[in-house]
């Protein structure tokens, strides 16, 4: 499939970025017919353990983890090239959930013992934590309210924990008498039960119910917990945006390709001006999105304030969520009837976009948050 993005025309990648991108391109080529994506749909845990191991071997799980904890300590600058490819390849793996969200929360915590003990296992792909923070649909609050911790016992519910079925442990935010704290809880802890919501892309969200569950290690106390959560979530939003960029880019490539081949009225339908202009508008959306992703990762790799990061994360998540939905929906339309079949791959891109766009705050929510932060 031809790369129609402007990357090769106007961007300059570092040698290291090229190397990482090449390995990511080779990696998703294994899933070229999206066989892995299809095989893991609607089947717990919704992703591919073998793929996870391969990603660990490529070192990707340690991108955001400092070397002292077994990671490679690179920035979004390098990571985003992988995320884009994961989006393009619809790779079924809880990469953002584990290697970004959970990793970020752990790295920024102040429990050195936990970090020394657990992070190397995460990097090696042997241990998958997931962040359990959300307490209501549509909420972006990092203040724990509905899950409380009293005498070392957790009670309450967490929602929308992605790929919980494959997680080994959860990092749970809980309200103590002093405020929000973060604890590790093993998946098999007594009193913890999990219900699953099937996602449209074939994966699962977990709903965690805590009934007097004994907490494990403390990841962060009240002094840090909320700011750690906020930073992790914003990093996750940027990562999800980069993945969405990959989703929309490939969806557009597939569509340009298809309309260039598909003949109706004795001409390839991609030669009809109305369809061309439509695809141009989608292309512009994708490149606007790419520009914001590039700007945002630079900001996240730099010294911006927490508030600056929050605004930037909302900016990029709003744009990429909107653009990915618009592009994948239009891609179905441009495919015609075949686009509405499960056999055609293009529908899988729509569904991945629907999941990622609505996770961690959708476009409307992030525009509202941006307005609150900036206006």
């Amino acid at each position: 499939m031809e790369d129609i993005s402007l990357q090769s025309r106007i961007d300059v990648l570092s040698e290291q970025q090229v190397l990482i991108q090449d390995s990511a391109v080779a990696f998703i080529a294994q899933n070229d017919e999206l066989k892995k994506t299809r095989d893991n749909r609607f089947v717990q845990p919704g992703f591919d353990q073998q793929t996870w191991q391969e990603m660990a071997e490529l070192g990707w799980l340690g991108f955001l983890i400092p070397e002292q904890y077994g990671g490679i300590g690179l920035g979004f600058d390098d990571l985003h090239t992988v995320l884009i490819q994961l989006g393009k390849g619809l790779v079924p793996a809880p990469f953002v959930a584990t290697a970004v969200l959970a990793a970020s929360a752990l790295v920024n915590g102040d429990n050195e013992v936990v970090k020394k003990d657990r992070l190397p296992a995460l990097v090696a792909g042997e241990w998958k934590p997931a962040l359990a923070w959300q307490e209501a649909r549509g909420s972006m609050s990092v203040k724990a309210e509905l899950v409380s911790v009293v005498d070392g016992k957790l009670s309450g519910k967490k929602m929308f924990v992605p790929d919980a079925g494959g997680a080994d442990a959860f990092i749970v935010s809980a309200a103590s008498a002093e405020g929000t704290e973060l604890y590790l809880v093993n998946k098999d802890a007594a009193g913890l039960s999990i219900d699953y919501d099937q996602r449209v892309d074939g994966g699962f969200y977990g709903q965690l119910s805590f009934d007097q569950v004994a907490v494990g290690d403390k990841v962060a106390g009240v002094a840090l917990a909320e700011q750690i959560l906020a930073a992790a979530l914003d990093a996750g939003r940027v990562a999800a945006s980069a993945e969405l960029l990959g989703v929309m880019t490939r969806a557009l490539e597939i569509t340009v390709d298809y309309t260039s081949q598909r003949v109706q009225f004795d001409k390839p339908i991609g030669s009809f001006q109305a369809l061309q202009h439509k695809m141009v508008d989608l292309f512009i959306l994708s490149e606007i999105s790419r520009s914001v992703v590039l700007q945002t990762i630079a900001l996240f790799d730099g010294e911006a304030s927490a508030e600056g990061r929050a605004a930037a994360a909302s900016q990029v998540k709003a744009r990429c969520s909107d653009a990915a939905l618009q592009i994948t929906k239009s891609a179905i339309q441009l495919h015609g009837g075949i686009g509405y079949t499960d056999e055609a791959n293009i529908g899988l891109y729509l569904k991945k976009a629907m999941y990622l766009a609505s996770w961690l705050g959708n476009a409307s929510a992030h525009r509202a948050r941006y307005a609150e932060l900036i206006l």
Binding site: D197, R199, Q264, D266, L325, G337, Y340, S358
Partner: protein, 388 residues
């Protein structure tokens, strides 16, 4: 009473009285668990209801009474449909009722009428439509499935697709190519074929909503008697276009958009969205898009009530209707936050609402029945008379 007396009875009824009668029948007879089905139902789900309607004599509200129909006038017909939609009555495998019947009444031979119409009314013949092919979607006239005459039969070979509910049907009405020379529209013939004829294979297609609503139908040296032709050899395109007339106002009815809006309203009430001024603004905009469409729809219906014909201009209703419906589902998804990405729905006081499912289910409405791009081409040419 004679058939005509029954007809007179329905059409003479007060509108509200008629509405109540229909509604009461639905309440008593339509299974609760099938109300507002999110997918097109199969025969094993909706077949009993088909037979209930057949028994009641309400299967074919638009057919003339002399052929066993209810013979409703345009006004009563609208009420009849409206009540069904409001109550969430599912669509039956109705191609025999809405398409084959009216077609045969207009273009069929006496033998064809005598043979097919009673079997449709009895629920004995269930039909599917064999028009589209993998290479002929928007450009339907380019179809390639061939029928070669051999004595009293045609030998049919080819491949149809997007055949709705073919797995539930036992009959197919189809377009085949009987002449490869000349204008592509002029070598097409309309055939009626039993699906159990040797050489026919039906393969279900799973759609984006993960339902097997469509199928492919393969024809491998299928022997079809020449008496199966409707309207004469090579006249199939004319026949198919005549059928379009029946379909047009159906496809222009704002029901899809209205139905989606009522689901959005249920969700909004239960989730408390009407307290959010941004939601209210978007909701109102869509509500007005639908109200205004309804005003346009009624203007077209007036034409039917006067006994007039509706032409290409009705495409405007299809475009507005389907695109509004999609916008409604998109607002539903956006307002549902994370639930916009999951299969399951939000429980409301008025049943489950599935935002993601609605977004997906509304995709094909802008594609089928002539994609909205093709509809715009038609309007540009036939109504605005823009140069080509």
């Amino acid at each position: 009473m004679t058939d005509e007396q029954v007809v007179n009875q329905y059409n003479a009824m007060d509108d509200d009285e008629f509405r109540t009668m229909v509604h009461d029948f639905y309440v008593e007879n339509y299974p609760d668990e099938l109300r507002f089905s999110p997918h097109r139902m199969h025969w094993d789900e909706i077949g009993d209801w088909y037979l209930t309607l057949s028994k009641k004599g309400w299967l074919t509200p638009a057919w003339p009474a002399e052929y066993g129909g209810m013979g409703l006038d345009a006004n009563k017909l609208l009420i009849f449909m409206d009540v069904g939609e409001s109550y969430g009555v599912g669509r039956t495998p109705d191609m025999g009722i809405t398409m084959v019947g009216p077609l045969l009444i207009q273009h069929g031979s006496q033998e064809q009428k005598d043979h097919y119409l009673p079997k449709i009314l009895a629920g004995e013949y269930i039909w599917c439509q064999g028009y589209s092919e993998p290479g002929s979607g928007s450009d339907l006239a380019s179809l390639q499935t061939s029928a070669v005459r051999e004595g009293d039969h045609y030998i049919v070979n080819g491949h149809k697709t997007w055949t709705t509910l073919a797995m539930d049907a036992n009959m197919i009405f189809m377009l085949v190519r009987t002449n490869k020379d000349g204008k592509k529209q002029e070598g097409i013939t309309f055939l009626l074929v039993p699906l159990d004829t040797p050489g026919i294979t039906v393969r279900p297609i799973i759609n984006l909503g993960m339902h097997d609503e469509f199928a492919e139908v393969f024809f491998d040296d299928v022997k079809v008697p020449v008496t199966s032709v409707v309207g004469g050899e090579n006249n199939g395109w004319t026949i198919a276009k005549a059928l379009l007339g029946h379909e047009r106002i159906f496809i222009g009815s704002p029901k899809f958009a209205i139905l989606a809006m009522s689901r959005l309203k249920s969700m909004a009430k239960s989730v408390g969205l009407f307290d959010d001024p941004l939601f209210v603004e978007r909701y109102t905009r869509l509500q007005l898009d639908i109200e205004d469409l309804f005003a346009a729809y009624k203007r077209f219906v007036e034409v039917l009530k006067r006994g007039g014909n509706i032409g290409a201009e009705v495409s405007m209703l299809k475009i507005w209707n389907t695109e509004t419906q999609q916008r409604v589902t998109e607002l539903m998804m956006e307002a549902a936050s994370e639930n916009g990405g999951i299969q399951d729905g939000i429980e409301t006081g008025d049943g489950l609402v599935r935002p993601a499912g609605e977004v997906i289910a509304s995709r094909p409405t802008t594609i089928y029945g002539g994609s909205n791009e093709v509809q715009r081409n038609i309007l540009a040419k036939a109504v605005l008379r823009l140069p080509s």
